[in-house]
Structure formats: structure tokens, C-alpha cells
Subunit: 456 residues, 2 copies
Amino acid sequence: MKKSCLLVAIACFAISAKASHIDSATVSRIYDEILEKGRVYENLHYLCKNIGPRLSGSTNAQKAVDWTKSLMESYAFDKVYLQEVMVPHWERGAKEKAYFKLNNKKQLVAVAALGGSVGAEMGIEAEVVEVYNFNQLKELGEEKLRGKIVFFNRPMNPKAIRTFNAYGEAVNQRVQGATEAAKYGAIGVVVRSMTTRIDEFPHTGSLRYDQSITQIPAVAIATKDANLLSSAIKAQPTTRFYMKLNCKTLPDVVSYNVIGEIKGSERPEQIITVGGHLDSWDLAEGAHDDGAGTMQSVEVLRTLKSLGIKPKHTIRVVLFMNEENGLRGGLKYAENAKLTGEQHLAAIESDSGGLTPRGFSMDASAAIVEKVLLWKPVFDGFELNEIGGGGGSGADIGPLKPLGTALFGFRPDSQRYFDFHHAANDVFENVNERELKLGAAAMTLLVYLIDQNGLN
Amino acid sequence: MKKSCLLVAIACFAISAKASHIDSATVSRIYDEILEKGRVYENLHYLCKNIGPRLSGSTNAQKAVDWTKSLMESYAFDKVYLQEVMVPHWERGAKEKAYFKLNNKKQLVAVAALGGSVGAEMGIEAEVVEVYNFNQLKELGEEKLRGKIVFFNRPMNPKAIRTFNAYGEAVNQRVQGATEAAKYGAIGVVVRSMTTRIDEFPHTGSLRYDQSITQIPAVAIATKDANLLSSAIKAQPTTRFYMKLNCKTLPDVVSYNVIGEIKGSERPEQIITVGGHLDSWDLAEGAHDDGAGTMQSVEVLRTLKSLGIKPKHTIRVVLFMNEENGLRGGLKYAENAKLTGEQHLAAIESDSGGLTPRGFSMDASAAIVEKVLLWKPVFDGFELNEIGGGGGSGADIGPLKPLGTALFGFRPDSQRYFDFHHAANDVFENVNERELKLGAAAMTLLVYLIDQNGLN
């Protein structure tokens, strides 16, 4: 029985693989090209070291737009162009200062304003109240929170196998913490950094204000200092916290999605999009988030072109602007697609780091998921074992869903991602060349299989 | 048809999983314990920073024996003891010096004597001949090789998906290079380091002499310098190479395998061994190779004990001595097992680095492989997707095969392993806490499933 089961399964996979047209020689050439002559690692080095941080609206973001456009032009894609989009322009200003007072001794702590936070240029100081969730705010109420600084210290759950699940369970403190605390009269918010490591890096990220609620300043604090602060509060419940933030939001500015295309030979009107986001936070080089995904996406088209593979559908690389603090690029791209009636067969995003590939998540119909699963034997050969529905896709391509586009998220191993996420150590040196290249190869493979076999 | 196939497969897996007795609550407790309260990371820190390099026969190797024994005793395993074994005692001596001469300018290069190499205390200098394989030696012949230094420069193949396959294809240069070159009268050997990275670290490793052939000195050269040397030879075929090695082999010394046990409650006479090797090369801390595997193996028993899990079979952790340059510990362990008629049900080795888990390779009968595959749904839940026959197991447990023991190799992701392998950067800082812990949890899971379900 057991044996027969396995045999059935194996046989089925074999038949299925045959059923779809897979040219294994071309598949090998794709991997060989990228692993042996790939440019993704050198390109990421340029983006990180010659341009660096590239927050929406910054001069560096514009430099990144100009350079990636010229990079695509140097590869002679059939079409390279910019798609205009208005983006938010938030600036951190001079480095933040923060400390807590224990027995009248100032203990400096490492903090970074959350993206979009209002400033506190004159500095604010108040008693600090530690909480783990929004229910506790309700229990404490205005009486105990008015005029105070709220410290959200719920850690990412170390027991989650995929770190993104732990992130999803903890990140509401960062996104809505300031608004929730302000409802009870708090004057500022300190949020434990979103990482399972105990380190000295504040991990920033965006917050969301509710226009009907007072906007109060909010910072991320390094986990090591979060632990210090927590013990201080336990030792002395009246511990006071000081923070000075020099950030401000300026008027929106013009920016761009950077787009390159290889025209389809049989179904040019049907588009397969592959992309990542070009903007990054301002604290580091945005090597993993998302320099890796953008350079991998460019590599997909470079590889098809350099191997002389003529795709049936139009393959389009899109470097989205403003994923981190607005998603304006992704929204504009889908809006334009709808307006112009473009047909988007599939979209693939890489925005989970340049780490060793595990597979792809899918946000598509059961029929499409089933069809893609027929290629599993091919994926398995490259250690892409996690192919399945669920797990979403990517923020920038999400808005394409109403157009009936099949969405795919490149899924690298998640264990190290939050060591660097939105922090000063998200630099080129923390990206491994083979892991980055294998990710680009996996994405090219998926694009190739979809292009050759379609999804219907 | 396609759908029915998948359904059949899924149904079968479900039935199979039921068929074997898997207590999912206990499985979760194993992962939670290690991820939340695990000691493996702190223990590896101690081994790396308080003891450090621990080459067979060295004082540090003895310190590692003493400390790991006391560590196991502190966990109150049912039995903790040492198994005596004579090991080789090779010493590097003072740091090597090497350079090549280009236009009479000395270009210093980073080299490290291969383990077991004879010394060259007075230094040797000769014309250097670059080759890529042993056939080229044959073609060049004694006429072109006598009195020369041979430079083996065949790189690890970057196109291999698993780096261990590339290592397997290239490592004969390091292991047999000196003997093969000596057959044609060469007086020394320089071997390109076994890594796909271009860096400044010589990666050492053992060589094997043939007693009937002259023993000539051999060094590993950093890949960056290997490329320099190669271009120099192309520019000037008469380029000369100088190397001075202060290494020597001393008489064998007494050392030990360190062993701990939890006695089985139902089949105490049947043993499940889990282990790694305690010795390391002398250039670094041996964090990945194999501090990780030893501390993970100890963690398996610590976890079972701290969760109050009473195994049916006897679970034994073995920290093998001398894997790197002799395998004496592994041979002694199997030899003793045979002499005393021990029954070894299964053995699991972790010696591929403390990196993110991928699964397990198996060297066992088809029936056992089939049985273990029934647990695939459990493994998949923890991203252990690569469970299968082939791929060998581990050097230290290999000698148990003639006893009919089912052999398992813990298989972490291989992409970063050779960045550190046998080089000065194999240090604690290059081990990720979550990756290390997940490896220990995966090993504990496999031991638990084998113990609960047996293998017949």
C-alpha cells in the first residue's frame, strides 16, 4: 500500500512534467549563465556602494532611478522607460537622541524615528509605561497613560519557524502603536525593534497615523536597549524617558517606477511582470531590502536576452518606487495597467531578501496552483521545495490582483532576514553571492516555465 | 487526472503519517524548547571562545574533551564516559611564508600547510607549473616536472547547485595532489583553496601520502592569490615560487571520544547514536566545522531530558575525535561496537555546518528509506523538505555501516559552508543563532521519530 502510494505519486509527477513542455537543456543554461557569468552581485554592489540608501523623495532615490534605467539600456532590452508617480517625502534629519533616567543617571539608548513619524525637535520627556499589546492600553486607560510615553515591548515570537509569521504577529505595535497610544493621551511611543536578535540596531519601518487622532512621535529601540529599559521600569516604575526627533514630512515629490521589457514573440499583449522595490530605508544600503530583489529582477531579463531566449509573452521588469512608506509605485503600476487595459498574465516579486531560495508562494486560482505544481520535479532539482498556494506574494504586485493576475512571491529562507531588516546592518557585505545568484536563477526559471507553458 | 494524482499522493501521505505514531504535541514541545530555551548557541560560544581551535593531539583538543564531558555531566545524562583512542599529532609550527617572483619582485601570498604535510623548514624555491588535473601531470611527465613546484588550480565548479558536489569534484587535488606530483619528481605542491569565494583565506585540509612515494610539502593558497599566481605564470612561464613550512608530525597521542547516554526504557540494548566531531583545524574556532554539530548533538539529549521524554531505545551522543586528519575516533567507535556486540539501530551525524536545515540524507535499506518517507508531512512542517536516500551520511558514523546500522546525515543548506570551511573565518560570529537551533531541533525530531516508531 505505502509503496504503491509513493509510486503513484512519482509516476504522476513524471507524467505531469512531460505534459508541460519543459526544455531541460534551456533550464540548465539559465542556471549556468547566472551562476557562472551572472551580473546580479556586481550590480547590487554598485547600487549599495555607489548610491546607497534611497528613501522615497531623496536625491539618492533619483540617482537609483537614473542608474537602473541606464543599466537596463546597457542590456539593450526592447523597451526601457520611466513611469511617473508622486511619492511622500519624509526626512529623518539629524540623528535622534534618547535616554531613560535610572536613579537620575542618564542611560543613552539606540533609537530611530519610525518612517512618517512627526518630529519632536525640542525633545519630550515623560514617565514611560511598558505594554505588550493594545488590550493593555485599554485596561490602563487614559488615567494611567495621559501625558506618558508608551513602550511597546512584545518581542517577535522565536518559536515561529518562518520569521515572517513572527513579524506579522508583532508589527502592529510599530504600524498602529502611535495611534492606539494617542487615543489615551500618550505623548510618544517607543517600539521594540522587529528582530529576534538581541543587538544594538534600531530597526525602523513605517507607521500609520489616523487623521482623526493626535499624531505623536514614535521611535524604534534596539532590542538590547529594549531589554535594559524593561528591567529599569521593573526596578523603578516611575522611570522617565527622553527622546528628541528631528524628522519631518515635506510635500510629495515626483519620482518613478523604472521599467524594462522584452517583447513577446507570440502573445506580446500578455505581460509577465517581475520586480522588486527600488526605494529603501535611509539607515543603510538596503542590500537585502530590496536591492537584492531589484537586481535579481533585472538579471531575469538580462539572462533571457544573453541566452537568446525569445519569450512568447512580454517579460517586463519593474523596479517599484516607494514600497517602504506609501506603496505609491505599486498602486500606480496597477492603476495604469487598468486604465490602458493591459493584460497581466502573471507577476512575481522578490522582496524577502537575497537569501538562499526555498521556493515560491502563490496567490492564484486553484487551477493555476495545480498547473504550477506539475513543474515541482523541475523546482525540486534546484532545491526549490516550497511551491504552494498561500503565503501571499509581494506588496508591490498585490494591486494587480483585481485584474485577475496570478501572483507569485519569491520565497528565500527566512531565518536571517530580520537580522538586517530596516537596520544599519542591511549592507552588501551581508549578502552571499551564491544565495543571491540562486535567487535570480529561481526567478528566471519560474518566468521561463510560465512563459513556455502559460497558466491555462 | 492531474488533480486525482495529487489527491492520491496527499491522501497516501496522510494515511502514512497516521500509520506511524507521531505525537504532534511532543514534536511542538521539542521545537519550542530549543528555539526558546535552547543552550546550543551559548555552548558553541563557549567551545569557540573559551577553548578555540582543537586539532587532534593538541592541548586544546584535551580541553575540549574535558569541558564537553563536564557539560554532559551537568545535564545529568544517565551515563557519561570517555572512549580512549590514539590519534595523530601534527603541528603547523610557526606561520608559513610563501611568495612568487615576478620580474624579480617578491609577491607574498597567503598559504597554509595542508594537514599532515611534511615541513620545509629551510624553505624551497623552484619554477612553478600550473595544472588542473592529474592527466596533465602525465602529459607533462617527469621531464617537465622534476624539481618543480606543481600548482593545482582547478576551481570548485560554481555551477553545482549543492556546493558539496563541487567540493567532491575538486578535492582530489588537495588529498592526492602531493603524491601524484611527487611521482614525476616535483618537490612541492600548491593547491587552490576549496571554496567558490575569491578571498584571502587559505583553506587547509588533510592530504594523503602514499608510503611508497616521496613525501613532498604541500600548501593551500587563498583563491585571490591563486588567481594572481595563475596570471603571473601566464605572463611569465618561468615564474618561481618559494615556500617555507614549519610543520611536523609527532608521535601519536592518547585522546578520546566523549560519550553521553540516556538509557532506553523498552529496548535499552538498541542504540541510536547522534554526533559530530570534536576536533577542528588549527586555523580558527571550528565553529561550523564541527563545533556546531557537536553542540547540536549534545542539545538533542539535553532537550529530551529537559522535556522528560523517556526514549524507548538508548540515545547516545558521541563527540568523535580526529575526523579531520585520521578518522580514528569514528573507526574506534565502530570497532568497539563490533567487539562488544552492541546493537546500533541508527546513527545521525551533523558535520555540514550550523546552517539553515534542509533535511536528511539516508544511507539505509529501501524499506527503511520508505518508512522514513512516511514522516515527510511532519518534516515538511519544519521546512525539512529534502528527505531521501543517497547523499551519504557522515564520515564518523560511516564505519557503523557493516553492522547494519541505518545512517543519516543532517543536511543544512550548503551555499555558505565553503566560505568558512577549514579557514580562519570559521568563527562563532559566522554562525546564526536561529539556523543553529533549528538544526538541533531537526536532529532531535528525527531521533524522536526513530525512537518512537523504530525502523522496521
